[in-house]
Symmetry: C2
Subunit: 216 residues, 2 copies
């Protein structure tokens, strides 16, 4: 029997997009190796020519799996869902699937890109206020959308892809000192999810590249 | 036989995210009505309380279909794909599907959000240079990614969801005066796609809300 190579995740402990994928891998029980890419050290290890060949966008995460390298967290999660379907991360009902993808895209296209590291570097002065503005604007809408879709979690009572986006985004909100008081539904779901093992083992505080200061 | 309501698309002629969905509807031959939301007039018609009930994120597009309203262009396109599968907008092979979603997310999360209207309003002075910076950074990576995935179009020789993202993004690049010379693959695919009827009937220059100055 030929040895099957374990998937290799290029990630950074504090990257919210990497965390989404780590949760998916944990929920599906997929063993993987990590190759840490430090986004700060050496001026940003993602900017090397070597990493540019892994991901031309010079961002984490990227997952080497089944002989190819995939970047973009949701594309990775959808691929895992199609090739390793159990347990499912998308509901069965087409309308609920659409709501799950809508909430996921709302976070991954509508909030996170506006407060990620390389954008805030470009903003320069005023970057804390900038990050807060876009997170609060996005959370106001998310709180309303969740009134329609949520049960125990973002879409009904099962963990879905949208939950994998929500928890890391709340951690970013905390990092940028956004008060969560106006968002009781987001807060409630976040707390429920953080009780689950897959969200704990994938947490930024317990990764192989987590510096001592950030360890739980 | 009960009358079946036609889907209703809330859109704006010049919104690149709306254009993606118009192409999908055209390719799949789905008849729909449009409700124009003028993002400029009256300080932005997307900001009204009435539209906030349609889409709390106060953005277009949103599609009212099958009794629900879905926002986020890729969530809408994936829903159309699951409920109206022909002609397909995703390849059959899981790895090609992943590449298609990776390219789509690269544009919809990695490029477009950084140059959309409400972000540029926040940037204020220097917004042209800001838009150009993020489009060029994104296109450099996209050009490299397409070396691996493209045939006649973004993924092989069939039109896919990634193509629905590419053409409107190239139109945005043109709007912000980005030279396309460094991106021969993107340019070639864009030109091939613009020959197709679905990309022509959905074009910003021929929509019900296109002002006279923008008409073809």
């Amino acid at each position: 029997m030929a040895a099957v190579e374990k998937p290799l995740l290029f990630s950074y402990f504090r990257s919210s997009c990497s965390w989404r994928v780590r949760i998916a891998l944990a929920l599906k029980g997929i063993q993987f190796d990590q190759c840490p890419i430090n986004l700060i050290q050496d001026g940003g290890q993602q900017l090397t020519d070597e990493f540019k060949r892994v991901n031309p966008m010079q961002q984490v995460p990227a997952l080497r799996i089944d002989g190819v390298t995939i970047s973009q967290s949701l594309a990775i999660i959808e691929y895992l869902e199609e090739t390793r379907p159990l347990p499912p991360l998308l509901p069965k009902d087409p309308i609920k699937r659409a709501q799950c993808r809508m909430l996921s895209d709302h976070i991954t296209s509508g909030i996170q890109p506006l407060q990620n590291l390389f954008v805030l570097q470009k903003v320069g002065d005023g970057k804390l206020e900038w990050a807060q503005y876009f997170i609060m604007k996005g959370f106001q809408a998310l709180e309303m959308l969740l009134q329609e879709t949520s049960g125990k979690y973002c879409v009904g009572d099962e963990v879905t892809m949208a939950d994998l986006c929500l928890v890391p985004q709340v951690a970013n909100a905390d990092r940028y000192k956004v008060s969560m008081t106006p968002y009781p539904t987001i807060s409630r779901i976040n707390e429920a999810l953080l009780q689950l093992e897959a969200f704990q083992v994938s947490h930024p505080s317990v990764q192989p590249d987590t510096p001592q200061d950030f360890q739980a």
